[in-house]
Amino acid sequence: MLEVLTFATLNGLVTGLLLFMLASGLTLIFSMMGVLNFAHASFYMLGAYFAYSISLQFGYWTGLVFAPLIVGVLGALVERYGLRKVHQSGHVAELVFTFGLAFLIEEAVQFSWGTDTKNYQTPESLNFPLFTLFGQEFSAYRGFMIAIAIAIFIGLYYMLTRSRIGIIIQAAITHPNTVANLGHNVPLIFMGVFGVGTALAGLAGVIAGPVLTTFPGMALVLGSIVFVIVVIGGLGSLAGAFIASLLIGLLQSFAIASDLGMPDLLNLLGVEFARDHPLNDLWTLTLPQVGPVLPFLLLVLVLIFRPAGLMGKRES
């Protein structure tokens, strides 16, 4: 029992923090610029691919530094030459734009790197078990992931609360002209925020790539879940995103670890159904089976009962 609990917690933490790395950039963009960036996970994928290519030549650590930078610059360019133009046509337009962009990036990745799975590996230097628990290893790389995620959280938190950037952007979403009239270079700031946001996504890609495999579908797998996190956490709340990430990580890992399901419930109730019962699929449902969609259930419930999210102050 203890073993199950420990592992579930540990795994949940790692998954959660990984999700947070991705969600942090999106929170930044989504909540500050109001842009529903559907391509966020695509930038994450780009991060992994760039890092893969760089690591072939110069090793993992160079990739860790440069891949996010490249992705950030790409993001900034996208903002400068694409989003900025689209911004005038409203949020739906921005959304469709990023939607198309996600599409485009996925195709471009396949175009340039092919559709195969890429052999992107963790660095040698972190290739040892950090500790062994109940006979299973916890790799140093996972420890490294946790450390980076926490560093991102602290760094961003500091940037958002201790500097004026946060309020400038927030004001500029609704009143860009007014903010400009006060002497702030709004376009530059937007470009910067988008660049930083996408760079964070790229960083998440660099770090997650070796663990979660680098392949053209890797963006799709995470695409909507990051939105779920940002919304459950509450728009505009970094702390909310942090908590929601952990919550979802833990939710999933406990669901998988639990082995509970309808059969147990039915046993408890003393009910039994024949295998050919029309609802057999329902009676045999188990938690691990539905684990990955639980976040969406949570999302719907949270939005129904607490539309502003767990820690959010505003609704949209």
Partner: protein, 409 residues
């Protein structure tokens, strides 16, 4: 007379739908037309949500899919002779179940618009997909369920062995559904949907509960999505998880958006254009998804009001009868612009090529020879600058064509 004038556009619409299958009478032609019919109803129903009601949905395929699944189940029941009615009514069955699903989901999702609504629709969409894979006995898992449309009582002697026979059923339904969706925009509920989209708060102070207004639009949209799903079931005789997943939802969003949300005919244009592209482009290149992505991105950037908006931009010039003055400037820009496009495509295709040489526009391009690349790049650059150079004259001509009105009035 006034009635005739009003219905003229509908008569033309109906006639077009009658004539098209005579022209494109191959199996493929009919298949594309059927696809368009389905897409038109679906995209229009989506526009009821987003364009008219301001509700951004990422899960509209749920109602399409559920309607379709129930329609297939109905076909199965007809085949098993549990039910007996003509299969031309299947889209109605789909519609009713789409409506039922919308009645349920809408009861909690329409409370708010904006991000909250959008995200609930996303969640519901994912949950629907997950359940469709879990409840295999109803949804058939990833292989879906299939039925057979030929077991219903013949409809005036037609047994629907061929897609071309289904086409006329589909066309009739498109006409009916489009008409009703259009009329809906002319009712109080339809207009209030616009009002609530613009300013839900103020709607409350003229006596309307924004939530109810949204709910009505939402249910109507669900109904017509279900009709489209029913049409799909009739045409393909099967449904899979794919038909209610996020990709289908995303596609309908793109159709409506690219067509132009602000216009009733926008989604129709979008549906036709996208269907065509989907079925034709994929035959010429493996990279068609890349081009599609590019097209979306460029459309959003340069045609914020969609294709319909582009057409409507010419309304003034049309009424002013200055449209023809634009022909020459358009041509002057179009030539370098299309050259630019073509050479870019050539460049991309050549880069993608693995082995051999590329036969492109009647030329053989050999990627091994540096000269090929040099020439290609030169053409790309030259045509790009030529296009840019030609833009000011187009803009001037454009202003002129449109500003004549001022002087006159």
């Amino acid at each position: 007379m006034a009635l005739l004038k009003k219905s003229a556009v509908w008569i033309v619409f109906a006639l077009t739908m009658l004539i098209l299958p005579q022209i494109f009478d191959s199996v493929l032609g009919i298949s594309i037309l059927n696809q368009m019919a389905i897409a038109i109803v679906f995209a229009l129903s989506y526009n009821m949500l987003l364009g008219q009601g301001g509700m951004l949905s990422f899960g509209h395929a749920v109602y399409f899919g559920l309607g379709g699944f129930l329609a297939v189940h109905t076909l199965i029941l007809i085949e098993a002779q549990v039910l007996t009615f003509s299969i031309v009514l299947i889209p109605l069955v789909g519609g009713l179940f789409g409506l039922l699903a919308a009645l349920f989901v809408g009861s909690f999702s329409t409370r708010k618009a904006g991000t909250v609504f959008a995200m609930i629709s996303l969640g519901i969409g994912e949950l629907a997909v997950a359940s469709s894979l879990i409840f295999v006995s109803f949804f058939g898992g990833e292989a879906g369920i299939s039925g057979d449309r030929t077991y219903g009582p013949p409809f005036f002697g037609v047994e629907f062995f061929q897609d071309s026979e289904i086409y006329y059923v589909a066309a009739a339904w498109v006409l009916i559904a489009t008409l009703f969706m259009y009329l809906f925009t002319q009712t109080p509920a339809g207009r209030l949907a616009n009002a609530v989209r613009d300013n839900p708060e103020r709607a409350a102070f003229i006596g309307y509960n924004a939530r109810w207004v949204r709910y009505i639009s939402f249910c109507a949209a669900g109904f017509f999505a279900g009709v489209a799903g029913g049409l799909f079931a009739l045409n393909y005789e099967f449904l899979t998880e794919e038909n209610l997943n996020a990709i289908t939802s995303g596609r309908v969003l793109l159709m409506a958006y690219i067509g132009g949300l602000g216009y009733f005919i926008g989604p129709i244009i979008g549906a036709v254009a996208l269907t065509l592209m989907n079925s034709l482009l994929s035959n010429y290149t493996d990279l068609w998804l890349l081009y599609l992505g590019l097209l979306f991105v460029l459309t959003v950037m340069f045609l914020p009001r969609g294709f319909a908006g582009l057409i409507m931009m010419h309304e003034v010039a049309w009424r002013r009868r200055t449209l023809k003055t634009l022909a020459r400037p358009y041509l002057l820009t179009a030539i370098p612009a299309s050259l630019f496009l073509l050479s870019c495509i050539g460049f991309i295709e050549l880069a993608h090529l693995e082995g051999g040489s590329l036969s492109y526009l009647g030329m053989m391009l050999d990627p091994e020879r540096p000269l090929t690349w040099v020439v290609l790049v030169a053409v790309v650059l030259a045509s790009f600058f030529a296009t840019r150079y030609s833009l000011p004259q187009l803009r001037r001509a454009w202003d002129e064509a449109n500003s004549l009105r001022d002087e006159e009035s």
